[in-house]
Structure formats: C-alpha cells, structure tokens
C-alpha cells in the first residue's frame, strides 16, 4: 500500500511540474537549496561566544520545522496526496494511517532538510567525534519529527484551514511571512547579533526550549561532555515522535469522517456580530444618500472584511513600520520619519489593481445606469479615508519620536500629498490595467510587476514638484523655500488626483465591458 501511495504522489507531482509550474518549481528548488546550504554554513561557522552556534542552529531548525508544519497548511492540505482522496476507500483506518505516514517519507523536501539539519553534525564536529555523532542522531530525529509533525498538523488543522475563516487566517499568516521575508535583509542581522553576542538570554532560552531546538541543545551538551542533558534532549525528541505516531491514526480517522462543509454551514447560520446591521457610522452618516455614498459604504466595509484587502494593508503597515523601527533599533533613526510615507506608497501600489482584484462583482456596477462615476470616486475616497489618517499618524508620531526635526518640511510636504495624489492615481491605473487572479487563484505575474513599478512610479509622479522645492531649499539653505513645498505639493496632488479620477471614470464608462472581460478571465 505504501508503494501505491508513493507511486500516486510521484504521478501527481509529475503532472504538477509541467510548463510554467516547472519553472516555478525550479526556482523554488534553487531557493530552498540556498537556504539549506546557508543553514549548513551557519553550523560550520565558529562563534566567539560559547553556545552561540547552538543558538543559531536551534533558531534555523525552528524555521525549517515551521516550514514543514505550516507549508502544507498554507498551501491547502498536502498538495500531492490529499486525505480526502481516501475517504471512501474500504481500507482499515490504522492501515491507511501508517501507509500514509510511510508514503510521507517519500518526499523530495527531505533532501533539502537533510542538508540543513546537517548543520547539527557540523556544529558537533567542531568539538569532536562524539558531539558530531550526537549531531547525526539529532539530524535523523529532526527529519522524522518534521515528517510526522507535518502529517499530524494536516490532520488537526486541515479542516480548520479548509474553512473560509481558516483560509483567511492562513492568508494573514502568509502575509506576515511575506513581510518578514521582505525585511530579511535588516531583520536577519538584527536577530543574528542578538543570538550570537550572548546578551539576549531570553531569546536563546526560547529557541532552545522548543522541540526544534532540542537537537542543538543535545549537540551543545555533548560538546561540553554533559551526556545526561544530551541524552534527555535526544530522548525527548524520540518520545515526541512516538507520541505523534501514536496520535496519528485516531487523528486521521477523525479527519476523514469530519465534514468541513457542515461546520461551515453551521457557522453561516449563526449571526456574525461583525456583520450585524447597526447605525451608519461616520463618515457615511454625514453624507446625503447618493450613489457616491453607496460605493463609499461598500468600499469601507470591504476594507475591514475582505481578507485580500486586510492582507495588503497589513503588509503595507508592517513593512512601513518595521523598516523604520528595525533601523532605529540598530542605531539609524534617519529613516524613522519616513515610515508613514513608505506605508502609504506600498498601500497605493498594492491597490492599483482594484478592478482586477474585485473580479466579476463589477457586473453590479455595469448594469446600473450612470454608476461608473460614483464607483471611481467612492473607491478613491475610501482608500484615502483608510490609508490617509494612518499614514499621517505614523509620520507625525515617528518624526516626533525620532528627534529628526530637519525632516518636518520633507514629511509634511510628502505625506498628505502622497495620500491625496495616490487616491486618484490608483483608480486610474486600476481602470487602465486590469489583472485578474491567475488560474490557481494567486496573483498574476503582470499584477506583481505592476505593483513593483507602481512602488517607484507613484511617488515620483506625485512628489516631484515638492522634491524639487525641497532640494532647492536645502541647497540654498532657505527655510521658506522648503516649507513652500507643503502647499505646492498638496495643490499639485489634489489637481492630479481629480484629473486621474476623471480619467478613470471616463475609462469605466466607455470601456466597462472590456474591463469586465479582463477581470473575468483568469490570467494566463
């Protein structure tokens, strides 16, 4: 049976790795190989402080184990051998459970993990053969733990992740991962310094206390000839594996007889307080009942309820804040006043695909006579109301906290004008360039490219008059000239935004069906 399952997994993976997916798979293999080799090199490196190597390897092992456990969940169950395939087969649950566990070991990811976990052997080898052998045992146990824990995680969390709210949560976690990866260049040196300078005992204790750190603890103990601690650590790993293996069959049986659909329907029937109708809140309450208000209301609600929009806002916020804060923690506070600007630019670039991201729901606008103009204005204002105040708050607070008083004219010229200008620009770009999600539901390559281009182009277009005055004022040591940038920037951005919104409305009115067709077709 294990053989059949392995064959089936191989066939599914062969089918998945064709055409563009094969290229993507190749890129992923390259990336994971680099990460694995990087982890191995971290084990080979000599550190100045005792125990620093074990801290680093324990932290990296945590990353690998988290990858094993969360990867299949974030990708939606085991992509190759979904448990649902076996629900109707007349096979004893225990037999199926151990067959699936056996088949799970036929996984190419184990090769990369082997390279990565070999850091434990390398770490031990620095202190002698006995520690290296301890490392070898730890590698084997970590690999087994990774496979078993991944299977158990799918059985436990799979149904939750398959539900809509679970997927929403998974998407938010993914957003967090993307954010942390995008900050890796500043985050990694920061964490590495804390782990290796011996001055952050709490962080070291945490990464060693979790099971992913037990292998490194065993190697560290063996290098000090503390054999009892080494034995307890390795024994703990083995005991954890045994516990998970014993828990696996009943968990799988529960998973195969559980209906995700019925639990989702049960939730659907329950009133959701977040969506409960209530008094109309500001700013809607103060507006007359017009089509513009209708769109503004829809958009503001979607910003708080749509998981895609929440995710994009979260990424924008975290990257904007963390880039400045990590820089400041590392002793460079120059960038802190610009956190709000960074947040605003990223939030604008992320929403330049507003019509593509909303997909076929555009039909509702197109069948209502004269609704296009209200749709464009409502979208622009909603984005401004959501992003503008938060960006301004970040700018004011971080500039004040940073003590960089020279930056006030710069940020006060840039922040409001950037928010106002981008509000119009993003609907114009959204109406002219529509990228539907790819067939697999992910962002289409052109959408990603557009976002990256917009990250550069939007601030350049909105801020160039202000930048000219600010640079001229700085060069001429003229404070009035620098402060003149503030009204000039706001005036230019307002004019630009109005023109862009007008252009977007005309585009939607004249080419609505074509925009709809593009939003409807999955991107190639």
């Amino acid at each position: 049976m294990v053989g059949v399952l392995i064959e089936m997994r191989a066939a599914v993976m062969r089918q998945q790795l064709t055409g563009k997916r094969a290229l993507g798979g190749l890129a992923l293999i390259l990336l994971v190989t680099l990460l694995a080799v990087g982890t191995l090199l971290a084990g080979l490196k000599h550190y100045r402080y005792a125990g620093a190597g074990a801290n680093v390897v324990a932290t990296l092992s945590l990353g690998w184990l988290l990858g094993w456990v969360t990867g299949p969940l974030l990708l939606g169950d085991d992509a190759a051998l979904r448990m649902d395939y076996f629900k109707l087969l007349p096979i004893a649950p225990r037999k199926l459970a151990y067959a699936m566990l056996g088949a799970a070991f036929a996984n190419v990811s184990l090769v990369f993990s082997l390279i990565a976990f070999a850091a434990l052997i390398a770490l031990g080898a620095q202190s002698g053969a006995a520690a290296a052998l301890t490392g070898l045992a730890a590698v084997v146990l970590d690999l087994v733990l990774a496979v078993v824990a991944a299977q158990v995680a799918i059985a436990v969390f799979g149904p939750v992740i398959s539900s809509r709210r679970g997927r929403d949560f998974g998407t938010m976690v993914l957003a967090l991962v993307i954010t942390l990866l995008s900050l890796a260049s500043s985050l990694v040196p920061f964490v590495a310094a804390r782990l290796t300078n011996g001055r952050s005992p709490l962080l070291s204790d945490v990464v060693r206390a979790v099971p992913s750190g037990w292998g490194a603890v065993a190697v560290d103990a063996a290098s000090r000839s503390d054999w009892s601690l080494a034995a307890v650590s390795l024994g703990g790993l083995a005991a954890l594996i045994v516990a998970l293996v014993l828990a696996w069959p009943p968990l799988l049986a529960r998973r195969l007889t559980m209906s995700v659909r019925s639990s989702r329907r049960a939730r659907a029937a329950r009133p959701a307080s977040a969506h409960a109708p209530g008094p109309t809140r500001w700013p809607l309450a103060s507006l007359p009942p017009t089509p513009f208000r209708a769109v503004l209301g829809r958009e503001l609600r979607l910003y708080s309820r749509s998981v895609l929009r929440s995710m994009l806002l979260m990424i924008s916020f975290l990257v904007g804040v963390l880039v400045g804060v990590i820089g400041a923690l590392s002793g460079k506070a120059t960038g802190l006043p610009f956190s709000g600007l960074l947040f605003t630019v990223i939030a604008a670039a992320c929403f330049t695909n507003c019509y593509g991201d909303d997909g076929t729901s555009l039909w509702l606008t197109l069948v209502v006579p004269g609704a296009a103009r209200a749709d464009v204005r409502g979208r622009a204002w909603a984005w401004l109301l959501v992003v503008g105040p938060m960006g301004l708050l970040l700018t004011v607070v971080f500039t004040a906290v940073s003590g960089q008083s020279w930056s006030w004219p710069w940020v006060l010229a840039a922040q409001p004008s950037l928010a106002i200008g981008c509000a119009g620009l993003l609907v114009l770009v959204g109406a002219w360039s529509v990228n539907a999600p790819a067939a697999d539901g992910g962002p289409a390559p052109m959408r990603v490219l557009k976002t990256h281009v917009a990250l550069i182009a939007l601030p350049v277009v909105v801020l160039f008059p202000a930048a000219a005055l600010l640079f001229a004022g700085t060069a001429a040591h003229s404070t009035p000239l620098r402060w003149l940038a503030v009204p000039v920037a706001i005036g230019w951005a307002t004019w630009l935004s109005l023109r862009c919104a007008e252009g977007a409305a005309r585009r939607l009115e004249s080419r609505g069906p074509e925009i709809f067709s593009l939003a409807r077709a999955p991107a190639a």
Binding site: R267, A268, G297, W363, L364, P513
Partner: protein, 250 residues
C-alpha cells in the same frame, strides 16, 4: 413595442463564433424561455443584452432603447441575474440591497422597505447578519435575484435562475415571476430544464451553435410532442446511453 430585440447580433471569441447573427424578438409581457445545449450561446447573448459584453456586430434594443448607443436608458429598465458572477461577498444580503438602492437613486426608506420584503419573501431574513460569502449557492442565487427585482424593472433577464435553488425556494421564485408577468412585466430566462420552461413560459427560442434554430409560442415550438422531445429533435442531439457499458450492473 418589443421588450427585447436582437438584430443581426454576432460575437466571436478567438475566431470561434459564439453568437451567429441572431435575430430574435421577445414580446412585451411575455414569459420567454431561452433554451439550448451547453455552449449554444445563451449566456453570451444575454451578456450582450445587458451591457456586460460588447457585440462584434448587430444591435440589442430594450423597449426601443439601444443597449450600446443608449445604455443609461436601457439599463434603467432591466433587472439582471447573471450566472456564476461574484457579488461584493463580504457584505450581508441587506447591505448589498441597501448599496444597490442608493446606487440606483431609490429613496432610502423605499429601498429599506423593499429590501425587507425581498429578504423575507426569498427567505433570506434568517441570515440577516451573514456575509454573502457564507451563503449557500442557492442563497446566492436568491440574493442576486433580489438585486434584479429591487428597482422594479420592466424586463428581467435571468441566466439559469433555478440552478441550485431548493424546491421550496423555486416555487417562491416561480410565483414571484408569474406575478411580475401578470402585472405587465416581461421575463426572459435561460434554462436547461425543459419541464420548467414548459411549465412557465408562453414563448421560447431554441439556440444551437450560436444560431436561433426555433422560436415562437410554446405550442408553435413543441408541436404535439413534449418540449424535451421537440428540443432533442430541433437541436439534432444524440440522446444516447443505451449502448456500451455492458458490464454495468450485470
């Protein structure tokens, strides 16, 4: 005046003709069925009729308003239920109706009252606080039908309105549509279910390979046969299933 009139309507996708010079008139006050096998061009024709898909040639008129030359005039008269298209699904059913009411310029109190009635009649009031994303397929169909009815249109264009709808709701919808036609409204709807078309419609057209192959009153199209038999004859389909599979249940 005709409720809907296609004249020489044509649409191609990548060289494949989906709708091939259709001429068709839907009389005002009729309950009109649009039937045809999969891929016949029903959805494409209806999409062009409501302004969601630009035709390559020909015209569509709704009560005399050219949908593509006078879209505002035409769209004010129609209610649309498209098949398989999204709604702003993080809103509740009531929020979507309130949003559409404002968008169409319906006075707020009128829109609220109509939304109340529609939610109650379509039995969606028990899911008052549920976002549409959590609706079942049938509930989504019903809230989309509510959006089509909210502004009291003169012509309803419904693409597969009964698909995935439970029998009780289907009876409700049929009653609503019959009342709508009895009150002077016109309905055109597409369906694969011949019994449904036969039970509801007074006129119909049969589409096959992008062309109208039969149209007229129900009796004219079906003659002495049942509509299902007449349909199979008209489209020249192979109603098979009697041959092969000798191993099955043997």
């Amino acid at each position: 005046m005709a409720a809907l009139e296609f004249a020489g309507l044509v649409k191609q996708f990548s060289g494949i003709v989906a709708v091939d010079h259709i001429d068709l008139t839907v009389p005002a006050g009729s309950f009109f069925g649009l039937v045809g096998p999969n891929g016949a061009g029903k959805t494409t024709a209806l999409s062009m009729a409501v302004g969601l898909l630009r035709p390559d040639g020909g015209t569509v008129r709704i009560f005399g308003h050219d949908v593509w030359a006078d879209p505002v005039g035409a769209k004010a008269l129609i209610g649309v239920l498209p098949d398989g298209m999204a709604l702003p699904d993080r809103l509740t059913g009531r929020e979507i109706l309130r949003y559409l009411g404002l968008l169409r310029g319906i006075p707020r109190d009128v829109a609220e009252q109509r939304a109340d009635e529609l939610l109650r009649v379509l039995e969606l009031d028990h899911a008052e606080s549920t976002a549409v994303v959590d609706y079942s397929t049938g509930m989504k169909k019903k809230i989309t039908l509510a959006t089509a009815l909210l502004h009291n249109p003169r012509l309803l264009l419904l693409d597969e309105p009964f698909e995935a709808v439970d029998p009780v709701s289907a009876v409700t919808i049929r009653t609503i549509l019959r009342r709508f036609v009895a009150g002077g409204g016109s309905v055109i709807f597409s369906s694969h279910v011949m019994a449904l078309v036969e039970g509801l419609c007074d006129h119909l057209a049969v589409l096959a390979k992008g062309k109208v192959v039969a149209s007229g009153s129900l009796d004219e199209v079906r003659g002495a046969k049942s509509l299902e038999d007449a349909f199979v004859d008209i489209v020249g389909a192979r109603a098979d299933g009697a041959q092969g599979l000798s191993w099955l249940a043997s």
